[in-house]
């Protein structure tokens, strides 16, 4: 008598016990559902990641319009690329890889666009003068970030703001881990230098 082949039972995930919101398990579920065409699952992914992507893009591009466009393009590309996405790679670094590329393209475009030059500086509006120290500090940081080379800025933000692991960063940038550590270190050194010597010098 031939041994009955064991049947694989495909059971739907238990509906009474959904995964924790925000957990990796939930994310996997969403991604898989989105891959199979579930638009609401994709919408949930957008919901979950939009703000973080925008945060990264804003710090990379410092121009809200460009940042928004980069993020929106990213999600559209994610959608297009979903069929080819394999779950071996975790979703986040994959997402950030696409986002980082979009930001790089936008940055290159911005540098090519001609700047309107004028003779002399544009004075500050009195009503806009910032008395809020916290805001002034953030602006200083923004300016300092903008002086960093793109790869260093990218690496710094991924490591210290987006909290990606170096393994994830390697996936997101295609660079090796030691190169990434070097970039982060250089970025930190530069930022420390810029931001500790300026601090205390009040801008009027």
């Amino acid at each position: 008598m031939p041994r009955p082949r064991s049947l694989q039972l495909i059971r739907p995930a238990p509906l009474t016990d959904p995964p924790e919101p925000g957990s990796a398990a939930e994310r996997s579920l969403l991604v898989r559902a989105a891959q199979q065409g579930d638009v609401r699952a994709f919408a949930a992914l957008v919901d979950a990641y939009y703000a973080r992507c925008l945060r990264f893009a804003l710090h990379m591009l410092s121009n809200r319009g460009d940042a928004e466009e980069a993020v929106q393009d990213t999600f559209v590309r994610v959608y297009r690329a979903l069929p080819g996405y394999e779950e071996r790679e975790s979703f986040e670094p994959w997402l950030f890889r696409i986002l980082a590329n979009r930001c790089r393209s936008a940055g290159a475009r911005e540098r090519r666009r001609s700047e309107l030059v004028e003779f002399g500086d544009v004075p500050d509006l009195p009503s806009e003068r910032r008395h809020d120290d916290a805001i002034a500090w953030r602006e200083e940081i923004g300016r300092a970030l903008a002086t960093l080379p793109v790869e260093q800025r990218e690496a710094f933000l991924m490591r210290h703001v987006e909290d990606l692991t170096y393994d994830d960063m390697a996936i997101a940038t295609g660079a090796g881990i030691s190169a990434l550590k070097m970039r982060v270190k250089r970025a930190c050194d530069a930022l420390k230098q810029l931001l500790t010597e300026d601090h205390g010098a009040r801008r009027d």
């Binding site: 739907p12 509906l15 959904p18 995964p19 924790e20 919101p21 925000g22 957990s23 939930e26 579920l29 969403l30 559902a33 199979q36 065409g37 579930d38 638009v39 609401r40 699952a41 994709f42 919408a43 949930a44 957008v46 919901d47 979950a48 939009y50 703000a51 973080r52 925008l54 945060r55 804003l58 710090h59 928004e68 929106q72 999600f75 559209v76 959608y79 297009r80 069929p83 001609s114 700047e115 309107l116 030059v117 004028e118 544009v122 004075p123 509006l125 916290a134 500090w137 953030r138 940081i141 933000l157 210290h160 703001v161 982060v184 270190k185 930190c188 930022l191 420390k192 931001l195 500790t196």
Partner: protein, 202 residues
């Protein structure tokens, strides 16, 4: 790594961490673009029969879906088939940007007689010069000046309503230049003063 615990770096990171505010409309734009993608692509057989009931943070799903639906509908309604109405501009002001300045514009949209004024600029090194101002909606492509080869002077005739106007030159699409021969118009809004032209009746 040392940097992780470095106080300055920690402070910098803390300042950069707060998430930006996101308008639901922004996210909806993504969904609409994606919906357009779906219309375009015909991926056979990959349609989820499954339905997800409750999956944690999908409370926002309903909102996202609703917003997406509203935007999709908005897209249809706002399709740019604007009927060209007659010159009854009620809420919209009458200082319409002049497209194609030339002999044609002896009168503006409301039938007001315009006066032709010649603007002149000495800028021998310039490649292109255009005039921007309140009369052409600050459009750098609406009134381009022409260079007289003999004198090297750039000039352009522009038809203006009588009254006070503010204008400036844009050289090579890069440089903002006040007309040095006209009085300065203060610019409290943006800090880039232009020049004033008082135009009399034709």
């Amino acid at each position: 790594m040392h940097d992780e615990t470095d106080e300055t770096i920690v402070r910098i990171a803390a300042a950069l961490r707060p998430l930006p505010d996101v308008d639901p409309a922004e996210k909806a734009r993504v969904l609409v673009a994606v919906a357009a993608e779906r219309e375009r692509s015909r991926v056979a057989g990959i349609r989820a029969a499954r339905r997800w009931r409750r999956v944690g943070a999908l409370g926002a799903l309903a909102a996202a879906g609703l917003v997406a639906a509203v935007w999709l509908r908005g897209r249809d309604v706002a399709a740019p088939t604007v009927a060209a109405t007659s010159a009854t501009t009620t809420a919209v002001g009458s200082t319409a940007p002049s497209s194609g300045v030339g002999a044609r514009l002896a009168r503006d949209d409301e039938g007001m007689k315009l006066k032709t004024v010649q603007l002149v600029l000495r800028a021998p090194a310039a490649r292109t010069v255009s005039v921007v101002g309140d009369f052409n909606g600050w459009d750098a492509h609406a009134n381009t000046m022409t260079r007289d080869p003999a004198s090297g002077l750039w000039s352009h005739n522009v038809a203006l309503r009588p009254g006070r106007h503010v204008y400036a030159f844009v050289v090579d699409d890069r440089v903002w230049l006040r007309d040095p021969r006209s009085p300065e118009a203060t610019d409290e809004d943006f800090g880039r003063p232009g020049s004033v032209l008082l135009v009399g009746q034709p």
